[in-house]
Amino acid sequence: MSRAEPRAGQPGPPPAGDATGGRTDTGADAGVVAGPATGPAAGPVAVRAPRPGWTLGLFRSELVTVFRRRRTQALFAVLAGVPLLVGIAVRIETRNGGSLGGGGRGDGGPAFIEQVSNNGLFLTFAGLAATLPFFLPMAVGVVAGDSIAGEANAGTLRYLLVAPAGRTRLLVAKYVSVLAFCLAATLVAAVSALIVGFALFPVGDVTTLSGTSISLSAGMARALLIALLVAASLVGIGALGLFISTLTDSGIGAMATTVGLLITVQIVDSFPQLHVVQPYLFTHYWLSFADILRDPVSWTGIGKNLGLQALYAAVFGSAAWARFTSRDITA
């Protein structure tokens, strides 16, 4: 049988249809399956080379797939609901013009909660302060933990890899989609809080934690900055969840492990006796975002938080890469 050998690395037009080799043993009942006779071109296929622009398709597909999942939408609903509940609770408490908690601070409610009834913009800060310790990182843990393990569990991972998505590229696409989810989840909570705050409470100039006053628009700019910092605070647990996701073929297992680790770290972070390890916990500087509301802004804690998140991303991102590029895909 004589056939042209495909030359490697030479993208070209599809081969001409006349290259059918010398086969004569066509089955008698060929063509039972309905469809036009526009089958694959005959003979060896021209070698297609990857195009840099075309590789972006995987990233878009990954984002679309994450955001179209019911689970993702349910998480968004929870994140939008928390500020709504907080807003309604504050509104009911202060119905008669009184202020929350009798004006006293530190009685266990989330930060900024006392100012909400005076200025609805503070619901954005209170809403983020209320969701950052658990709801937001839990949502990220679910999405990141499921990212690889869920596809392995469903078997779709093997088809992505033989497509071939490429292991490194797929892992990067997964992490990018996790980061996009961090940002989207934070914005959902923040925008919900902003809308509820403006709808239920008066708004006006913002009194900073230092006691100075800034305009509403300046206050809203700081709210946006805070939302971005909160999203950046989730980079570490996203990388941790991605790494855990490469360890197992059980999506549920990876999600549960990641969320369990989050809770453990939060508990460890709350014991003063364990202060030696606390500066290395990814949750430790999370509430530093409040420093944005000082005048002037204090950047020390924020810088430590961002540095720690970058460290987690580097360490667990590398671990995930080392694991995922070498493991057997048997699911």
Binding site: R3, V33, A154
Partner: protein, 321 residues
């Protein structure tokens, strides 16, 4: 003639393995496999459940690393050359896997966008073409979770047909299909083969391999028992001579005189193996008649692949490895 570049196996071999071995913790799933799949063949990869077919295919596709040995697919080493080899290979591995919350069409769009050599401008048309090819156009907008097993299997096949392929690797493609679905898949395989695509088809069904394959390899307990053109494999076991009539005992005596061995009598039927240097069958028939044996039926039964398998492994085909 083909002009293979140097240091590459000849272009007429699309899969070649040397001592390919995979050991899972306890089990030796694949043991020293030397496989050669000629270009243009419909290659049946036959073996009972658990004989190592899927494990071999996973190694060929770069999903798992061999414990020992090497594999070349389309002339390049796997898994190292996956980026250049896999776009030219369509694969169905251990059943289809789909995103249940996406429609059949969106499933294919996702798999296609994972291929960096797939042109996004032709993506929609290629997806529609693949759906059409497997007869799923009408159900393309339905969520995949509502698909029957047969429809899922077809969608998996469609994913393998998103691009023109040089090699199709189909792991038990008719699993879970009804007889009509099986016939359709076989028809599709023949159609693709007629277009010049090499098809590597694993199955635990002997008649499936006999019906569609030009070549076959037989696996048992992780070992390659034999490989070659299907006709040769079946010919390897000589057919058995069968004589039917009311005088089986006399018939057996006459046959034994003519060197027929392994005689077994089953009611009115006597069967036996012809000697290595077979006499003219007409002579044997004449001898039977001359001895006064009444003969109702006389003839050579063609050996099937199943006979070949039993002869090669010394065990029934249904024994799991």
């Amino acid at each position: 003639m083909a002009q293979p570049s140097t240091a590459q196996p000849p272009a007429d071999v699309v899969i070649e393995t040397r001592g390919l071995t995979k050991q899972y913790r306890g089990t030796l799933a694949v043991d020293g496999l030397d496989l050669r799949v000629p270009r243009g063949s419909v290659f049946g990869f036959l073996g009972p459940n658990g004989s190592g077919k899927t494990t071999t295919i996973r190694m060929l596709m770069g999903l798992i690393a061999p414990t020992a040995g090497s594999a070349r697919v389309l002339g390049s080493p796997m898994p190292r050359a996956g980026r250049s080899v896999l776009p030219r290979v369509g694969a169905l591995i251990e059943g289809p896997a789909l995103y249940g919350f996406l429609s059949g069409r969106d499933n294919l769009l996702r798999y296609d966008s994972a291929d960096p050599t797939a042109d996004p401008r032709t993506r929609k048309a290629r997806v529609a073409g693949a759906l059409d090819r497997v007869g799923l156009s009408a159900a393309a907008g339905k969520r995949a979770k509502a698909y029957s097993l047969g429809m899922k299997q077809r969608l998996g096949l469609a994913a393998a047909l998103l691009q023109p392929r040089e090699l199709l690797v189909l792991d038990e493609p008719t699993n879970g299909l009804d007889p009509q679905g099986m016939r359709e898949i076989r028809g599709l395989v023949r159609e693709l083969a007629a277009d010049g695509t090499t098809v590597f088809l694993s199955s635990h069904l002997l008649d499936e391999i006999e019906q569609v394959c030009t070549h076959a390899a037989v696996m048992a307990r992780g070992r390659l028992i034999t490989q070659g053109p299907v006709a040769e494999l079946a010919a390897g076991t000589r057919g058995r001579l069968a004589v039917t009539g009311p005088d089986p005992a006399q018939a057996a005596r006459v046959l034994a005189v003519h060197g027929v061995t392994g005689l077994t009598t089953d009611g009115q039927r006597v069967t036996g193996d012809l000697p290595a240097d077979p006499p003219d069958l007409a002579e044997i028939n004449a001898a039977l008649v001359a001895a006064g044996v009444r003969v109702r039926g006389f003839g050579l039964e063609r050996a099937s692949l199943e006979d070949a398998f039993v002869a090669l492994t010394g065990e029934g085909f249904d024994v799991a490895g």
